[in-house]
Amino acid sequence: MADRDDIFADLPPAGRKARIPLPPPPLPGYTADALWKLFAVKLEALNGRVLGIDELDLILSRPYFLDHDAAAHLGRAPGGVPIWEAEVGVTSADLAIAETGTVLLSTGPGKPRLASLTPVMHVVIIPREKIVATLAEAFSRLSDRTTVLITGPSRTADIEGVLVRGVHGPREIVVVPV
């Protein structure tokens, strides 16, 4: 605690400047359908895909792990192979964010964090109405759980600036509105 006292003794006294408020986020006024169209454009630009629920058979023929909520949407049993061995991780998400093609996942019961991370393919199941236009709207609806925003497949450009996908996380991301 000696360090803490030393640091605070050195810090300048609190200023009196008022906080400048951020401008309010623009009013949405878009239908979910319009937002999903924008979402698909943004995600496809990142090499992700938006698929229908009936287009998953081939993907689910590979060893997969399914989280609780996603399993309920798909009418399958949750679980599957151990997460570290799964080729496909199927998870639910809380929200889709149209302006950046992002999905927002929080942790919780039946929702392991690693399911969206260690498999080479990540499939995200989201109820159709759970889409917002902007990041600002998404952040105003955060839960108090650890949360991750995922924008496209894992990537690196460390070697000569060449874009490589799937360096540690999934190489492919598929989003399925239901």
């Binding site: 050195d10 951020l22 302006e99 019961p109 105003s140 650890t146 460390d158 070697i159």
Partner: protein, 458 residues
């Protein structure tokens, strides 16, 4: 008087940089700079307003830092994140080593996500000496570690290396056969590091933003190694400079988009991780304990001085990418973990001008760094101020040619004599003109003489 440093000056170092390195750094810097504007224009209707807002929010943070730190500490504790305070690098190293000893008394693997704060305190060396196997997991940082190198860019640490060099290093370390495909090299690293994530008891990361209002740690990355390092092991230790606070989560959209756009031309980084504390009872994975080490190491001192605005920095690296000096000499020339225009201010501000007196000279003062800075840090003004401070403290000598120039230019008589002698300078082999004539010819005087014409006109 302070001792004048005997390390090689930036200028001398720059002469030793290979043409290949300069070309690697220059082309990567150019492509990142080109990607920046389209991404930011797409994110913000009015980029200038967005940058002003971000600068104002960071100034608010710096003005109210002690209150915000108290709030952050309290909210983190409520979230189950244990907060530790480190006055300096040695204290931070000891705190982290003790946490490691608690979590894994008999040693073992520590996976590390990229963190400039951990580079700043030279953490790896300390933990390795204590018997831990520390593995950097960011692809670039991993290459740096196995090559015993240091990062030459704060965002893309191996900007100075070619794929052939990476391939040779991986072959040497037994990751796989030599290949010049970046795709295959990344796959080799993925396979090798996967086992490290599974065996590690401890993960260490930096912090991009810490939210005072919610007590949440925010980490951004593209590869997934950061999420793995902070999710798979049972203990997560995060280290942050004390200025990395944002007041509330409502501030995040602005900063996340400015950071991703300025750093790599992305709309948003692939992963934005908001950590609310350790694994809860009803959760199946995630670390069982989360520690936040808040580092001063000279920052409180900067807050009270003329370089305070450098603490607005969000480490996007845009000023490095755009800087003509950085592009030519690359990051190692700055001889500090923080390089480029940012480093030229932050490094001497943290360590004292006596330790790094000539960094402020590593700039042409063209102003590009301030132009691209997402939080509008007046870097050129601070570089001038540092030069002034260095000369006043006697730790930086003006170059002899400039002293002679100012001697000559401050008297009419001496100036006229000098002009008459200029044609002779071209012929002479003179040390004064070496820097100039290495790449250029001295001009030959042509035409009539202005002074003669002026004096003779009627």
């Amino acid at each position: 008087m302070a001792k004048v440093r005997s390390k090689p000056s930036v200028e001398k170092f720059a002469r030793g940089v290979s043409a290949q390195t300069t070309e690697s750094v220059r082309s990567a810097s150019v492509s990142k700079t080109d990607a920046r504007i389209p991404a930011l224009k797409d994110a913000f209707a009015d980029l200038s307003t967005a940058r002003n807002q971000a600068a104002q929010i960071k100034d608010y943070v710096l003005d109210n830092i002690s209150n915000l730190l108290v709030q952050l500490e309290m909210k983190c504790r409520l979230n189950g994140i244990q907060v530790h305070w480190a006055r300096d690098a040695a204290s931070a190293r000891d705190i982290i080593l003790n946490l490691c000893k608690e979590a894994a008394p008999s040693g073992g693997t520590i996976v590390k996500a990229k963190s400039m704060a951990s580079e700043e305190i030279h953490l790896n060396h300390h933990l390795i000496e204590a018997g831990y196997k520390v593995v950097e997991t960011d692809l670039g940082e991993y290459v740096i570690q196995i090559d015993n190198d240091t990062p030459s860019h704060i965002v893309t640490p191996i900007i100075h290396k070619s794929k052939r060099q990476v391939a040779k290093s991986f072959e040497r370390e037994g990751l796989g056969p030599y290949t010049e495909s970046p795709e295959e090299l990344a796959a080799q690293a993925r396979r090798h590091l996967r086992a490290r994530f599974q065996e590690a008891a401890i993960g260490i990361s930096g912090v991009n933003f810490a939210i005072a209002e919610s007590g949440r740690i925010v980490l951004v990355e593209n590869e997934g190694n950061n999420r793995l390092s902070t999710t798979a092991p049972d203990t997560h230790i995060a280290i942050m400079g004390l200025e990395k606070i944002l007041p509330s989560e409502a501030d995040l959209p602005l900063f996340l988009r400015l950071l991703a756009g300025s750093a790599t031309g992305q709309a948003l980084t692939v992963y934005t991780h908001l950590i609310s504390g350790p694994r809860r009872k009803d959760e199946v994975d995630g670390p069982k304990s989360v520690h936040l080490v808040i580092l001063d190491n000279g920052r409180a001192k900067i807050l009270n001085g003329p370089y305070r605005e450098i603490l607005r920095c969000i480490r996007c690296g845009a000023c490095l990418n755009v800087c003509p000096v950085y592009r030519q000499v690359s990051g190692h020339a700055y001889q500090h973990v923080y390089s480029g225009p940012l480093g030229a201010v932050l490094a001497p501000a943290l360590e004292g001008i006596e330790a790094l007196p000539d960094l402020a000279k590593a700039s042409s003062l063209c102003g590009a760094c301030e132009e691209v800075c997402p939080v509008k840090i007046p870097i050129p003004r601070m570089l001038l101020q540092l030069r002034d401070e260095a000369v006043r403290k006697g730790v930086l000598k003006e170059d002899i040619p400039w002293s002679m120039y100012s001697f000559g230019a401050t008297s009419g008589f001496r100036w006229r004599m000098g002009l008459k002698m200029l044609p002779m300078a071209k012929a002479a082999k003179h040390p004064m003109k070496d820097g100039w004539t290495e790449f250029r010819e001295l001009p030959t005087k042509e035409g009539r003489d202005f002074r003669k014409w002026w004096n003779g006109r009627s």
